[in-house]
């Protein structure tokens, strides 16, 4: 059985991924290329933020220090956020946003699928909802990656540029921290490494239809799972935490 400290840390990795990616997607609100897509991006963001609330709440219970979802989401220092670097990358353009979503969801769909067999009832509950959402995220983002990859010359160029830019951040999706490893061993959470083949198949199939090539990555980027983030993370937190930090300890 993994200790509660391991389960707490592994849950924080999951919740932070969802919160930060949800936050990034929410930045598109009112700015998407098509009104219908504005609504769709908000749906994706709401799934992720909603999921993060459940995971933070459970992490707070596991920790047993009385922290609730907002204490965990808003009142930590940058180094204490354990999201991977991929999800914090800024919204360069729509191609990069959809690709980031595909990279993330193509792992998380099989991840939550595997988590349905967890020996932890709360995690099974969270997984039951998330697995359906992630299947939709894969479908939606894959459709866009294909449309843009096999659209105009300009969109194909932007799509391939996004691949070159973002692919170095995909390796960290499979990073297994000590905490995550302990939880995988104990049977409470899936092993990310075991899902790599499925992720690669999904990406290869989408890229084939999108006429994209997978670049060779000699120097993968990582650090988020150890709390070492990119420069953009501080700006995300400055906005996210603004009200809570300005007026601490109040009810909103």
């Amino acid at each position: 059985m993994a200790g509660s400290a391991d389960l707490f840390a592994a849950l924080i990795e999951l919740a932070d991924d969802q919160l930060i990616l949800g936050h990034r997607l929410s930045e598109w609100s009112g700015r998407a290329p098509i009104l219908e897509e504005d609504l769709a991006l908000s749906n994706l963001a709401l799934d992720l933020i909603g999921g993060s609330r459940n995971i933070y709440t459970y992490a707070g219970l596991v920790e047993g220090k009385g922290r609730d979802e907002d204490d965990l989401a808003y009142m930590r220092l940058e180094r204490e956020y354990l999201n991977c670097l991929l999800v914090e990358r800024g919204n360069d353009d729509f191609a990069q946003t959809m690709l980031r979503q595909l990279y993330f969801a193509a792992l998380m769909q099989p991840y939550w699928q595997a988590a349905l067999a967890s020996n932890d009832e709360t995690i099974r509950g969270i997984a039951g909802k998330a697995v359906k959402e992630m299947a939709y995220h894969v479908r939606h983002s894959a459709e866009w990656v294909i449309r843009l990859g096999d659209g105009t010359a300009q969109s194909a160029e932007k799509m391939q540029a996004a691949v070159v830019e973002m692919h170095p951040f995909t390796e960290e999706l499979f990073t297994m921290s000590e905490a995550a490893r302990a939880c995988a061993k104990a049977g409470s959470l899936p092993d990310r490494e075991s899902l790599r083949a499925e992720w690669s198949r999904t990406i290869a199939s989408v890229f084939e239809q999108a006429l994209l090539t997978v670049p060779e990555v000699r120097f993968p980027q990582s650090g988020g799972r150890q709390g070492r983030h990119g420069e953009e993370m501080g700006h995300i937190l400055a906005e996210l935490q603004y009200v809570q930090r300005t007026h601490p300890g109040l009810t909103w």
């Binding site: 929410s26 930045e27 609100s29 009112g30 709401l46 729509f94 996210l240 809570q244």
Partner: protein, 333 residues
């Protein structure tokens, strides 16, 4: 979010007297006019302008509220605000669809917005400066919108009336949500209550202006009333709004910034109502004509969104054409 007293419509029309009388008879019998029915050109033009203006208000209205999505103070508030702004986008979508039944495209309407031919509600040219503004916009701006839109659920044009029924249900939820944000602030610390009061001070008068100029000055009201597009006067709706809102402010324990506000037993056919102080119509017209705090930003931001998305829309079209061509080629084999 909502339509304002119509600005600058042209309801002139040159159909025959018989045609207009027959059309008027249908309106008077409370029949719904549907997209394929014969209708005076002035009626069509007025509705395109009003529905378009209403749709644009929903779309531009996403900006001031969207301004706080990334800074919402709790996860629950963040999700609720994101969903609310998404609802506004959804309202824009139904309304553009309703306008399209009258023979105008969403793209044309968008062009009219961007080049200034079409207006949107003056209220969205004010900035959202504090978290309390998200509460105030929900409570007062959506509250005023509901007052304006409930009569539109009975509008003579079927698609608009039906869109309004759904929109009103969602707005009413937003209004309660906004009020609940303010209730939480007013029950909180002194700084939170001050934030709520400061917000009300800034929004109160602009919200009263949302109902449009006094009826004496509103030139299009008569024809629109005859055509069943407008059911109540601007002043009557404003009065209803004030009478409903003042007791809610009392529950919050904050005050509207109107030293002349007083109860008058003789109003509303002897049921009583509030008399308000003078509204600064110079400010209203200044903002409507493009000189409010946020007019330039709102249009510039939206133009950037439309421009930045052009390559995505082109790619989607190109991809759809390629797919269709491939399908055709496969069928021919």
């Amino acid at each position: 979010m909502y339509s304002q007293g119509l600005i600058g419509s042209d309801s002139s029309t040159d159909e025959t007297v018989e045609f207009l009388a027959a059309f008027q008879a249908r309106i008077d019998a409370e029949e719904k006019i549907e997209p394929n029915d014969a209708m005076p050109e002035g009626y069509r033009r007025t509705l395109i302008r009003q529905i378009g203006q209403h749709a644009h208000s929903e779309i531009i209205g996403m900006q001031p509220e969207g301004n706080w999505i990334t800074r919402a103070p709790s996860l629950r508030r963040k999700a609720a605000l994101l969903a609310k702004v998404q609802d506004e986008g959804g309202h824009g979508l139904y309304l553009y669809s309703a306008a399209e039944t009258l023979g105008v495209s969403r793209e044309d309407l968008t062009d009219q917005l961007l080049d200034g031919r079409a207006k949107y509600s003056s209220i969205f040219n004010y900035p959202t400066l504090s978290w309390a503004d998200i509460g105030t916009v929900g409570w007062l701006v959506d509250g005023a919108a509901i007052m304006n839109q409930i009569p539109l659920c009975r509008c003579s044009f079927g698609p608009y009336a039906r869109a309004m029924i759904r929109v009103c249900k969602e707005e009413s939820f937003h209004q309660r949500q906004g009020y609940e944000i303010l209730l939480t602030l007013c029950k909180g610390s002194a700084a939170q209550k001050e934030m709520a009061q400061e917000s009300l001070n800034r929004w109160w008068w602009p919200v009263l202006m949302m109902f449009g100029p006094s009826d004496g000055e509103s030139v299009h009201s008569d024809q629109n009333t005859k055509w069943g597009i407008k059911r109540f006067s601007n002043d009557a709706l404003r009065q209803k709004f004030i009478d409903a809102t003042i007791p809610q402010a009392k529950v919050l324990g904050i005050e509207v910034p109107d030293p002349d506000l007083k109860w008058d037993d003789s109003l509303n056919d002897g049921r009583g109502g509030y008399v308000h102080g003078p509204i600064d119509w110079d400010e209203f017209w200044r903002v409507v004509k493009g000189h409010g705090a946020m007019n330039r930003d709102r249009i510039r931001n939206y133009k950037k969104t439309v421009d930045d998305g052009a390559w995505v829309r082109e790619a989607a079209m190109a991809h759809a054409e390629k797919r269709a061509a491939r399908k055709l080629a496969m069928a021919a084999e």
